[in-house]
């Protein structure tokens, strides 16, 4: 059940260039599924900010969000500290159907700030006994995060745009080299990356997660719609029907 909660920040860490990891205490942590997001209110901001869930510790009743500074909202969120409270709406949106899917091998493809929700997904897949192969892309070495965490779950490959770490180039370059045999792929990242990945893996079954400027975050305002491939005059709401979609369900623009 979607709820508005005032929750405490347990820790607030800078983990890469302009990138922060925040652990939050919430009785609803265990309700959060891989791919879902929380909608965070910020002091002196009219609109909430959607932030994806990067991890959940059901026992400790905590969950983790990871975000990068993009504008005023994320800058404000970066200035909060452990002990502060955040007004959060959760859980929001659709999720990767980990429990329903039958698969042995999953390919995880993440770019930049699209990486965080994929960690919680990869962890959940691994717990289910699925083999996980991960390909992550970042701008440069300074922006890389969570590499070790993903390595604990399976083979992990990194690409950077400028070549300062891992392979120089894009996630698609690594996927070409690996050409892995997979049952499903799961991807989240900037739209050009998602376009490239869904084209490259067009023959495979997969899920993608989208982001967009949101208004309400709960499905009432129609701000964050995405047209459907089957009928572009129809749309779905990223905040409510998404952010997770079948890879071939929506038109990426």
């Amino acid at each position: 059940m979607i709820t508005k909660q005032l929750i405490e920040i347990k820790s607030h860490l800078r983990i890469a260039e302009d990138t922060f990891e925040v652990v939050l205490q919430s009785t609803l942590a265990r309700e959060l599924k891989p791919g879902q997001f929380v909608h965070v209110a910020l002091k002196n901001h009219m609109l909430r900010r959607p932030v994806s869930v990067a991890n959940v510790d059901a026992e400790a009743e905590t969950f983790t969000i990871v975000f990068k500074i993009f504008g005023e909202g994320t800058k404000s969120l970066s200035r909060y500290q452990a002990g502060d409270h955040l007004d959060v709406i959760l859980p929001c949106g659709s999720y990767y159907p980990v429990e329903e899917l039958e698969l042995d091998h999953a390919l995880i493809v993440g770019g930049g700030i699209g990486v965080p929700p994929l960690y919680y997904l990869a962890k959940s897949l691994k717990e289910k006994g699925v083999k996980v192969t991960t390909v992550l892309g970042f701008q440069s070495k300074a922006h890389v995060f969570y590499e070790e965490k993903f390595q604990l779950l399976g083979d992990t490959y990194i690409a950077t745009n400028d070549g300062t770490y891992g392979k120089k180039g894009f996630v698609t370059d690594i996927i070409s080299e690996l050409s892995p045999t997979i049952d499903y792929y799961f991807s989240c990242g900037p739209t050009p990356m998602l376009q490239a990945v869904t084209n490259q893996l067009a023959e495979q079954k997969g899920y993608i997660s989208l982001e967009e400027r949101m208004g309400c975050g709960v499905g009432t305002c129609y701000a964050c719609v995405v047209p459907l491939k089957e009928d572009p005059t129809q749309s779905k709401k990223i905040c409510k029907d998404g952010p997770v979609f079948y890879a071939n369900e929506v038109i990426l623009t």
Binding site: M1, I2, T3, K4, A41, H45, M46, L47, R48, E72, G73, D87, I89, E212, R213, M214, G215, C216, G217, V218, G219, T220, C221, Y222, A223, C224, V225, V226, P227, T233, Q234, S235, K240, T253
Partner: protein, 304 residues
């Protein structure tokens, strides 16, 4: 504390209702609280046929407000009557349907379709949407067009008609008079102000439609002024709106002359905005020396 207020077709248990376009058709917010707590509900705009709306991004945050250019996305009036409005039957609160269109004929078509719904108590005539190419604000900025569409819709409607006025005019009283002369039962004011925000890095407007409607606390003083001016000139019921966040804001609109108030953008920031304002209102009325909502209406006017 008596919070009731009465407007044509609407006997409200309290004066607070969510504004059109900021509440969908109620389902999502019913997860957060009992919609029966609301004075009324104004649902999202209906057009003759389904509309896709504008490209994204459709929203941008501004200082003390936001811009939106949704472009009247909706499934069309027939689908709204069949699939959306019945959900609200189980709640003890009147529903106001919002009627939009590109032509007078479309406004009349939507109005006539809504005559067949038993699920509404009034209609709000949207002649002030700034985000569509045809119709919308065109009707809301030209007194003659406003008069014509109001007259035709009023002739067609079985329900009381509240005309939602655009603030994008040089003289709001002229517009209010025009639609009142055409038979409007009430006014709903104000809609958003046309604005723009440019992304410095990308060197282009953030909103794909380039311009959007500005809402939120940034526009409240304009809304208060306009309600005040219209109240001074005319004796017509007014649903006041524009940047209401708190019960104090709601009282300010009552003092300016509104008979009820609508809450828009605040719902996005706080899904519980409406019930919280309703809960706080008795304390705020009492604090400022009022025994009821009715008593406060128009009391902000100096020299009567």
């Amino acid at each position: 504390m008596n919070l009731t207020t009465t407007l044509p077709g609407l006997s409200l248990k309290n004066p607070v209702m969510p504004a059109s376009g900021c509440f969908g058709f109620g389902k999502e917010y019913s997860q957060f609280y009992d919609l029966s707590d609301l004075g009324a509900i104004i649902v999202k705009a209906a057009t003759g046929q389904a509309r896709y709306g504008n490209p994204t991004p459709r929203v941008a945050e501004t200082t003390s407000g936001m811009l939106n250019a949704i472009g009247l996305q909706n499934p069309g009036v027939d689908a709204i009557i069949k699939e959306e409005l019945p959900f609200l039957r189980s709640y003890d609160t009147p529903v106001i349907a919002n009627v939009a269109g590109s032509t007078v004929e479309e406004y009349v078509q939507v109005t006539k379709a809504l005559n067949h719904s038993q699920d509404i108590a009034a209609i709000e005539l949207n002649i002030s949407c700034p985000n569509v190419k045809e119709g919308g604000v065109q009707f809301g900025t030209d007194p003659e067009l406003a008069k014509e569409v109001t007259y035709q819709v009023k002739q067609a409607s079985n329900y009381p008609v509240y005309v939602k006025l655009s603030p994008n005019v040089s003289n709001i009283v002229t517009m209010a008079k025009a639609v009142t002369d055409a038979g409007a039962d009430g006014l709903s004011m104000i809609n958003t102000l046309t604005g723009m925000q440019i992304n410095l890095k990308q060197r282009k407007p953030i909103i794909a439609n380039k311009t959007g409607g500005l809402s939120g606390p940034a526009i409240k003083p304009i809304a208060i002024r306009m309600v005040y001016e219209v109240r001074q000139a005319l004796d017509i019921p007014i649903i006041g709106m524009g940047g209401i966040i708190t019960a104090e804001d709601a009282l300010e609109f009552l003092l300016a002359g509104a008979n009820a108030v609508a809450v828009g953008t605040a719902n996005f920031q706080n899904p519980l905005a409406c019930p919280e304002i309703i809960q706080e209102l008795p304390r705020v009325l009492e604090q400022y020396g009022f025994q009821s909502v009715e008593e406060a209406i128009g009391k902000g006017h100096v020299n009567g």
